[in-house]
């Protein structure tokens, strides 16, 4: 089984700092996302799935419609293999309502209608749900199984400067990667972009994302779009 764990905003510096050995796997490094004008979630993940830079096309939809952008299976690396599953993947099987609600809560926080604890709670609930689903699906057999976790990004936006909270989240993600690695022949952990702190908040790093594999890849500073070919080749 080829397993892909997509972790939004996973930051290499924290993976190293918190010693997340399962997230690091055997080989890890940073992806180069400098070619994108802005490190937008939908743009990066869709480009990852399609294997080509879709920024222009997606940005043209505008900030509201962008979130509903959806690729056809044939346009992604899921096309080739027979049995595939993608849990909550942006640009493909994204849970529109959940993430729209999350964006609304960000607005509510900045308008001082809710506290950080109130903001965090539903994010954690969604995380536990995806985690449970993923661990269940690991028992089955797919050619490609991909799960998407947005917890590091969404919680990070308001709490990246809170080292303890971030460590607890990263350690938990590391555990998930550990469980998955037992079922994977080939595994890829990938993030769209990294994160940098602005006081207690977290902003998208526009230069790099994170990648790691348990098998060797030929590229040194891969672009996020380079992985589609690698996945197709290995699944």
């Amino acid at each position: 089984m080829f397993i892909i764990i997509g972790i939004d905003a996973l930051e290499k510096k924290l993976v190293e700092k918190f010693n997340c050995s399962h997230l690091k796997q055997k080989y890890y490094g940073q992806t180069n996302i400098k070619e994108y004008r802005q490190p937008r979630t939908l743009v990066l993940w869709s480009s990852f799935l399609a294997g080509k830079n879709l920024e222009k096309k997606i940005v043209a939809l505008g900030n509201k419609k962008m979130w509903n952008f959806k690729l056809k299976k044939s346009e992604t690396f899921f096309a080739d293999p027979k049995k595939t599953k993608a849990i909550d993947v942006p640009g493909y099987t994204y849970n529109k309502k959940q993430h729209r609600d999350e964006r609304q809560m960000l607005r509510d926080f900045f308008e001082q209608k809710i506290s950080i604890e109130e903001f965090d709670r539903p994010i954690f609930t969604h995380f536990r749900k995806i985690k449970k689903q993923f661990i269940n699906d690991l028992k089955k057999d797919y050619d490609i199984l991909m799960a998407y976790f947005d917890i590091a990004d969404v919680i990070g936006h308001l709490s990246f400067g809170n080292t303890i909270k971030m460590k607890m989240i990263y350690k938990n993600l590391d555990e998930i990667a550990g469980i998955a690695s037992k079922k994977a022949q080939k595994m890829l952990v990938i993030s769209d972009h990294g994160m940098k702190s602005i006081g207690k908040f977290g902003d998208h790093d526009e230069k790099h994302g994170f990648w790691s594999t348990n098998f060797k890849i030929a590229l040194k500073n891969p672009k996020i779009t380079d992985f589609a070919k690698i996945i197709t080749k290995n699944s």
Partner: protein
């Protein structure tokens, strides 16, 4: 010797070591309680007259009480006062409305850099304490900074047995922290004991007072009824809330809101 005497003696020792080692030294005075205590300790170390300049970085947004206090005590204590200001940015209208992050960077950090360069300062005495903030806990008494004010805290020389020294290449300045081992409580007890004057903003007016002071535009008071140093000390004994919770962290908030809009989140 009681606890405060020990703290005082060590600080004086460090100040005297710094003066012995560095040619062009200055003390940074933000007019707050910590740096005023530092200046007080300098007066003690040099038996009355502080032989080097005392520097105030004026962001132009300080409370008027701060300016008043500064002028009075610079005179009474016979200090060689230097006021550093980022004149260029001030004229261009830099302020917290341009983004608090940018304002602090320009009016505080840049102004400090310019002043250090202008007066060729090779070492600065600062009033920071280890208990102020997590990251401060890793500070050293003598701490080198490079040109960009970056601090390499992964590779710090050990400070054993009261031996302090910092490598200085042409480009660097060294920061010295004689108050590192003091806590917020220690400072207030010392202020009480020595009768050190502090800016009246620390005392409650209409149920509010400032726990830490900076620029008027970005400082938020906390609820309190402590009107004297004695009352502040009493209040401190029972509170557990960390000191900097009063300071405005919303310069970063403004930046984030703008960024999140750009990324399509809001």
């Amino acid at each position: 010797m009681d606890h405060l005497d020990e703290l005082e003696s060590k600080s004086i020792y460090i100040i005297r070591e710094a003066y012995n080692q560095f040619k062009n030294i200055a003390a940074l005075w933000s007019i707050g309680k910590d740096s005023t205590t530092l200046v007080w300790l300098c007066r003690k170390a040099f038996l009355g007259k502080v032989p080097f300049p005392v520097m105030h970085i004026d962001t132009t947004y300080k409370f008027k009480e701060i300016y008043k206090f500064r002028e009075k005590y610079a005179k009474v204590w016979g200090l060689k006062l230097i006021v550093g200001k980022n004149e260029k940015a001030a004229k261009a209208g830099m302020g917290p409305d341009k983004g608090k992050f940018a304002c602090c960077n320009s009016m505080k950090t840049e102004a400090l850099k310019q002043t250090i360069d202008k007066y060729k300062i090779s070492a600065l005495l600062l009033g920071i304490r280890r208990d102020e903030h997590g990251i401060r806990a890793k500070e050293r008494y003598f701490s080198p900074r490079n040109r960009q004010f970056k601090w390499n805290y992964k590779d710090q020389p050990p400070e054993m047995w009261d031996q302090y020294r910092s490598k200085q290449s042409g480009e660097q300045h060294t920061r010295i922290h004689p108050l590192l081992h003091w806590t917020e409580k220690d400072i207030w007890y010392y202020v009480l004991r020595e009768k050190i004057p502090v800016v009246p903003l620390y005392f409650a007016k209409k149920g509010k007072r400032y726990r830490s002071i900076g620029c008027e535009t970005c400082c938020n008071p906390i609820p309190s009824n402590a009107k004297t140093v004695k009352e502040i000390v009493k209040e401190l004994e029972i509170t557990k809330i960390a000191e900097r919770s009063g300071r405005a962290q919303d310069k970063e908030q403004a930046y984030m809101m703008q960024k999140l809009r750009t990324l399509g989140y809001m």
